[in-house]
């Protein structure tokens, strides 16, 4: 397993210390339940600053569950229960004193399905800024976010049009622009390319690689090639069916090249090889 440098340090330093090129988020998940169903167990994932961490694994192994635990999106599901700790700059985001709404402002999310609001392209991107009471030059920030999401040229002449009038790929990049407009610290992306064609996929991938200069990214993907192309670190999840139930867990995490070429676990080897042969 991947060494976890922050395991002990995290508890010691409670102040949100600025972390250099270290671990921005550290997820030490023990058990995650949906009602009585144990969905994921025992997974420890550090997310390193300015790196893309890819989550791979068979369907139903809990990749989305883990990802959505990282910004407390799962709190919206009444039956959801999280046991463990997710530290963000040293603070446990599951601490009782923490407001999940504030967590989500720092840890942004891009969903599997493009989901722009039923408003103009401009208002979509400005949404988060207005929400946070942004006082500066809105036009400038909207343009910057759209540039950052590589769709400024396509939409600059129709900022007043509906966000829903765009193509699927454009909508997804609009959603990325919306997510980065507020300049969150961490971006969680759940299969952001699954609704896109290969060309749009490539553009979003290039975008992710550019974005990691400024952000820390966690990326769920079903596409092995995509993980190889963009992820610096890869986490492979498996499903444990030994208890008569289907419980996901982290099998192995490490530098992408190593996970794909010389994994430590037999399971990883079989999965990675199976996907390619």
């Amino acid at each position: 397993m991947h060494a976890n440098p922050k395991m002990t340090a995290a508890g010691a330093s409670t102040a949100p210390a600025p972390v250099g090129n270290g671990v921005v988020m550290d997820c030490q998940l023990q058990k995650v339940f949906y009602g009585d169903f144990l969905a994921v167990r025992d997974s420890s994932l550090p997310l390193e600053k300015n790196k893309i961490t890819g989550f791979i694994g068979p369907s139903g192994c809990g990749k989305s569950t883990v990802l959505r635990s990282l910004n407390r999106m799962n709190d919206l599901i009444p039956a959801f229960r999280f046991e463990g700790k997710v530290t963000y700059h040293g603070q446990d985001i599951y601490d009782k004193k923490v407001d999940p709404v504030v967590v989500r402002r720092y840890i942004g999310m891009v969903f599997q399905q493009p989901n722009p609001f039923a408003m103009s392209i401009y208002d979509n991107v400005a949404f988060g800024l207005r929400l946070n009471g942004f006082k500066g030059n809105l036009d400038e920030r909207v343009e910057k976010a759209l540039q950052g999401a590589a769709c400024w040229n396509e939409v600059k002449d129709k900022l007043k049009n509906s966000g829903l009038s765009l193509s699927g790929g454009q909508q997804q990049r609009l959603c990325i622009a919306r997510a980065i407009a507020t300049e969150p610290d961490v971006l969680l992306m759940d299969e952001p390319c699954s609704a896109l064609d290969p060309i749009a996929t490539r553009r979003v991938e290039e975008l992710m690689v550019e974005l990691k200069e400024n952000y820390t990214i966690a990326l769920v993907t079903h596409n092995m090639q995509q993980a190889m192309r963009v992820a610096d670190t890869t986490a492979f999840f498996g499903v444990d069916i030994s208890q008569g139930s289907r419980t996901g867990y982290l099998v192995e995490m490490g530098p992408t090249k190593k996970v794909f070429e010389e994994p430590e676990q037999q399971l990883t080897r079989e999965y990675v090889r199976g996907e390619f042969s």
């Binding site: 969903f111 989901n115 039923a118 949404f127 929400l131 009038s165 507020t182």
Partner: protein
């Protein structure tokens, strides 16, 4: 014919059938069973649609024919004539209807939208929500005169006077279920992924409702409100017990108040030509007001995005 010939023939037929399968005829065959049935059914639905439209158009036609000639500035502004007088109008009834429908809208729309927020978003599966939903559905089919009797007991008796206020409340009782159900439907139709996006941006539940759900559902909500207003404006039964009528312009919300619906009801039963003509004209005005509101609502509520 000899046996080999037969074989050749069937071979040929098989070949031509193969050719048919490769190049099937795509032309219309209107007399074939399937097409014929479809044609007949389409015709029947046309006829049914026309039959359903006949009463509607004949009402509008009659209103214009009978009421159009009396429409003038005088009828729109003057007070109702007494029994044998000529001329006169129903200005006070127009004002009364607009004011009472306005009061009803002010009460029922905020209340209805708040209730719908509860039903559609806050606790959609709670027992209270189920009960409210059931009651609202029952109330949409509620005899409107009962709304009048109810408000009579609650307001007219206690305030010791018929009033525009009581009339407005009675109409609000009538409008409320329509507004609640339409607004709930409109809000429930806002896709979950849009709400998730808002939560993901760091919205509180209140912000999700105010910034995403209500704006996205606005046109549906508005349609429901308009439907409710149209229903309320034309209803005379609840006003009979609450606002009654008045021959003068409205000067206070706590006195009997004229309305178009009651004026039509009163005048159409009178044995005087002048009053009967005015009843027709008032009906036309009522329909035009409702129509104008509907068109306005459509313009405002046109789905922008």
């Amino acid at each position: 014919m000899s046996a080999p010939d037969l074989a050749v023939e069937s071979n040929l037929r098989a070949l031509s059938q193969q050719a048919d399968r490769r190049r099937p005829s795509l032309q219309r065959a209107p007399l074939e069973g399937r097409a014929l049935r479809s044609g007949i059914l389409t015709g029947l639905t046309w006829i049914a649609a026309l039959l359903a439209a006949v009463p509607l158009f004949s009402v509008i036609y009659m209103l214009f024919v009978e009421g159009g000639s009396r429409l003038s500035w005088e009828t729109l502004t003057a007070l109702p004539p007494s029994a044998f007088d000529l001329g006169g109008g129903f200005g006070n009834a127009i004002v009364g209807t607009v004011v009472m429908v306005g009061i009803a809208t002010l009460i029922s729309v905020p209340l209805g939208i708040l209730a719908a927020v509860y039903l559609a978003i806050l606790e959609p599966d709670s027992r209270l929500a189920d009960t409210v939903r059931f009651l609202a559905k029952v109330l949409t089919g509620f005899p409107s005169i009962l709304a009048g009797v109810f408000v009579y007991a609650v307001m007219v008796v206690t305030m010791k006077t018929y009033s525009a206020l009581a009339g407005g409340v009675a109409l609000a009782v009538l409008m409320l279920p329509t507004v609640v159900l339409a607004a709930e439907q409109a809000m429930a139709m806002v896709p979950k992924k849009m709400k998730d996006a808002a939560y993901g941006m760091g919205c509180t539940r209140t912000q999700v409702i105010l910034k995403v759900v209500l704006p996205t559902g606005a046109s549906g909500i508005l349609t429901g409100v308009m439907l409710a207003i149209a229903g309320a404006a034309g209803n005379s039964a609840p006003l009979l017990f609450t606002a009654l009528f008045s021959d003068y312009y409205l000067s206070s919300l706590t006195e009997p108040t004229a309305s178009l619906a009651i004026l039509i009801f009163n005048f159409s039963g009178m044995p005087y030509d002048n009053q009967i003509q005015l009843a027709w004209a008032a009906s036309l005005v009522l329909v035009l007001i409702v129509l104008a509101f509907n068109i306005l609502a459509r313009l405002i509520g046109r789905q922008k995005y």
